[in-house]
Symmetry: C2
């Protein structure tokens, strides 16, 4: 089979790799229908996050079950499924509590020795604990596929940011980051009933999506100016809930600064660099909470799925380009130079 | 009148100062019955936190109302009252929400231009918003006074740590710090129904109090060894709720490390130094939350007071020495060299 492989910074290739196959009785093999490229894949692409040469990549996919191991109970060949961006056993304390990202038997697609999502097929460990069933008729629905695919990571992660930041009906929310996760954060905050949603971003294509997703205000300024602007918009107090969807020192600093006293920053941007901008002195005096982390997408998919299927939310709008497998290297380039927001891979 | 004044590191004096008097119509003057020395006063004493030479000090006191301004409605001369460690107007958004520490008209006893708690009398701004009524008969009850005094800061702060860390009935709690706040954190966690309370501390006098307050386990190790020990006691998982009551980089690092994935660190130790030990990378992958800050004691006193009056909790046990006003400099020395846990000042 063919799959995406990373050989080093800026070196993404499509190669022949060993076929995905059942190795454990709890495995399934999923033939990928759609996958995509994540903003966090760019950290590897840019060489900021290190990868072994030849490592597989991609952690978001949906597809059709091709084969299941003898101990798999909930799935059979032909099922249409979506995978969250980590696998998990479904039976441990953490899985039962809905924090599948802390499953001691869990792992991340594309980690050394595993298949990545950006390939023709994927061996799925602990299929019963990991996969989520989708309606079969959705498999051919080009309108639905992007939204369903987003549940794998980006929409679940935006939702995690909103939940972690404590978005409640009527609350004032600010979202730092106009990437696909930030935009899904806007959508998640809107879905949770936020009264006002301030999106920080300066790229009109993106802020237009933010407005479609429910943003009531857009702040194009950055740094100190952005902080001042958000304060101005909130009567000097800041936002009850701030979603941090970037992961840089500057974005975290901004997020903490624009949180209202007693409010929370829900951070889902993978932290890169130093103290990550956490100013504990400022947090202490103002009782600003810091919550979030890697999103337990597996816990959120069942909650979000009905709203995607019904059309109540359409997170699929974050995809603005579709490529085939051979187009993946160009997809990375497009996301890296920000000419694409998020690239879908259709097999 | 006479009051405690700080002139510089290790230079605490008792001096004649101008009498406390009504300056605003919302003021009250309180004749101090009991005050105390706080662990955070030691930061000033040691020169880590800077103070102007001649600045007043002390932020914990209870006493008898001597006089009220014409706009004070809830108090009259002769009332017995306790003051939280910040004053607040009682009418702003934050005060109404119970985050009086963020009151825009609030302030901290002993800040430049204000009276400190460690003096014979205190001018109390916004008396209606700040003070809490105590039963008159308690004023002469030497058994009750220490517990009532603790509501001013140390018990309210321990409670804030427990609430911020998300202590729930049956949960496993760890408390970093065996100072008076940490011990009150143990008591607060016990009061909130924690199933297991692991106190980290190595001074037997203190850990004995921790056990009296409800600690089920004591860990004397520090740093990596402490982390290992707590993990061992919790089946490798760590504590659902961690109370951080020190404020150093090492204590924060320990606190985050011993939190169970998905759990929270409730930090109330005033942060001192650098990144304050916040390892965002570790927090991210494990969804460890960081909550807390300066405790809104004014919000908590009404909740905690009945349990102190009924004897259900006796946080007054953290006081192991009582001095008169002239004994205050010696009280600082004793707390600084750890020969006293917490010093009460009886007027």
């Amino acid at each position: 089979m063919r799959a995406t492989v990373i050989h080093g910074p800026n070196d993404i290739r499509i190669e022949d790799v060993p076929d995905a196959r059942i190795q454990q009785p709890t495995d399934a093999v999923v033939r990928v229908v759609n996958a995509c490229i994540c903003g966090s894949d760019l950290w590897a692409y840019r060489g900021v996050a290190s990868r072994e040469a030849g490592q597989r990549i991609g952690h978001e996919f949906l597809g059709v079950v091709e084969e299941v191991g003898p101990q798999v109970r909930g799935f059979k060949a032909g099922d249409f499924v979506v995978a969250p961006f980590v696998w998990s056993d479904g039976t441990c304390d953490f899985c039962r509590e809905g924090l599948q990202t802390s499953c001691p038997h869990g792992g991340f697609w594309g980690q050394v020795g595993s298949d990545g999502g950006q390939g023709e097929a994927v061996r799925v460990p602990f299929a019963d604990g990991t996969l989520v069933q989708l309606p079969k008729e959705a498999a051919g629905d080009e309108k639905l596929l992007p939204g369903l695919l987003s549940l794998s990571d980006v929409m679940a992660t935006g939702h995690h940011a909103a939940v972690s930041a404590g978005v409640t009906p009527g609350s004032t929310v600010a979202v730092v980051g106009d990437g696909a996760v930030g935009l899904c954060g806007v959508l998640a905050a809107h879905r949770l009933g936020a009264g006002r949603i301030i999106a920080l971003g300066r790229h009109q294509v993106r802020t237009d999506i933010a407005r479609k997703f429910g943003a009531t205000d857009v702040v194009a300024e950055r740094g100190e100016d952005a902080i001042e602007k958000v304060k101005e918009l909130t009567g000097g107090q800041g936002a009850h809930a701030v979603l941090e969807a970037v992961g840089t020192e500057e974005s975290m600093r901004t997020a903490i600064s624009i949180a209202r006293d007693g409010g929370a920053v829900g951070y889902v941007g993978v932290p890169h660099g130093g103290s990550a901008g956490v100013d504990i002195g400022q947090m202490f005096g103002r009782n600003v909470q810091l919550r979030g982390g890697v999103a337990p997408a597996r816990a959120y998919i069942p909650e979000l799925l009905p709203d995607v299927l019904s059309g109540k939310i359409d997170p699929g709008l974050v995809f603005d380009r579709t490529v085939d497998l051979d187009g993946v290297p160009e997809g990375y380039r497009a996301m890296d130079n920000r000419s694409a927001l998020k690239v879908r891979i259709s097999f």
